[in-house]
Symmetry: C2
Subunit: 183 residues, 2 copies
């Protein structure tokens, strides 16, 4: 899914500024399966406005820079629903951690342990964020479905890490070993 459709999906539920769209894509309901940066959001919004799919108004604020608040138009709603009818693009899952884990036998066990612990903590935090989202009464039924799917996955990821992380540590090098000691 492109940034264009992501912006429309957020604006479908209410008006927002580019800044807020970024924040929602990183912290909001859909933050664990979509994301976008300023470098793609602002150009996308400009293009969407050109195409008449969103409109904007300037809200001056004293001191702070003026907010440029975007709203979706009727044409925008149509475009978004049409986009949802399109065949779905493939899921993307990129994990530098798992690439690291595949080569644990080349690395000192202290480094492996440290990265595993970091990864476990991140997983726990992600699960917690999803549980918090579920408890907010603002989530709709379909949002709740998506979030509980994510929670189920984070729960097993955590479980699996806890019970198997020590196996990976025992595969790592017991000596601290220097970086340049590629065998």
């Amino acid at each position: 899914m492109n940034v264009r459709t992501l912006c429309l999906s957020i604006l479908y539920e209410g008006e927002a500024t580019g800044y807020e769209i970024r924040r929602l894509s990183v912290e909001g309901e859909s933050s664990y399966f979509v994301e976008a940066s300023y470098g793609s959001i602002y150009p996308a919004l400009a293009k969407l406005e050109d195409d008449g799919l969103v409109s904007s108004r300037i809200e001056p604020q004293d001191g702070k820079p003026a907010r440029k608040v975007y709203s979706i138009t009727d044409a925008g709603r149509e475009e978004f629903v049409a986009a949802l009818h399109e065949p779905l693009a493939e899921e993307v899952f990129r994990s530098p951690f798992l690439l690291f884990a595949r080569f644990a036998h080349l690395l000192p066990c202290e480094l492996v342990r440290s990265r595993l612990e970091d990864q476990l903590n991140k997983t726990i935090e992600k699960k917690k964020r999803l549980i918090d989202l579920l408890e907010e009464r603002t989530t709709s039924a379909s949002d709740a479905w998506v979030i509980s799917y994510g929670r189920a996955i984070m729960a097993v990821a955590e479980q699996h890490m806890r019970t198997h992380m020590h196996e990976l540590i025992t595969l790592a090098r017991s000596e601290p070993a220097k970086k340049d000691a590629a065998e």
Copy 2:
């Protein structure tokens, strides 16, 4: 993790052509958490050769275009192990399917049912591919660790889909509804 490091990780375990690197990144042991396309692999290999981290030799074939086989150098092995010591980049998970699911209430139930079934089938296939990989005797211990982590996740994803997909279908519009009927 960038394409550069991905290429080094594959060449670490044996020589390969750009074409094979692409195939391994899409079908190999790490295919479910890394991926790269020709458009990034070929420039990356050229750069790696410039930097002396890989070497290449041309193998002529009758009829087919000559194979350009890349091998990792000692400097390349060092660079790769050094890269594994670097702080890990964030995991990326992009799911057009979950964005679709969040808006199930705007869509005809037949479409929702169809997409859910597609998604379930994809999940089953991914799980099966991982199980097949685990049964190959060529997988090392760390590979097995990574693959069984993936299998555990695919298993709950499948489970959750099976037991909850009908809830999402009941949220969808019972009437077929036209694309332009954005409420």
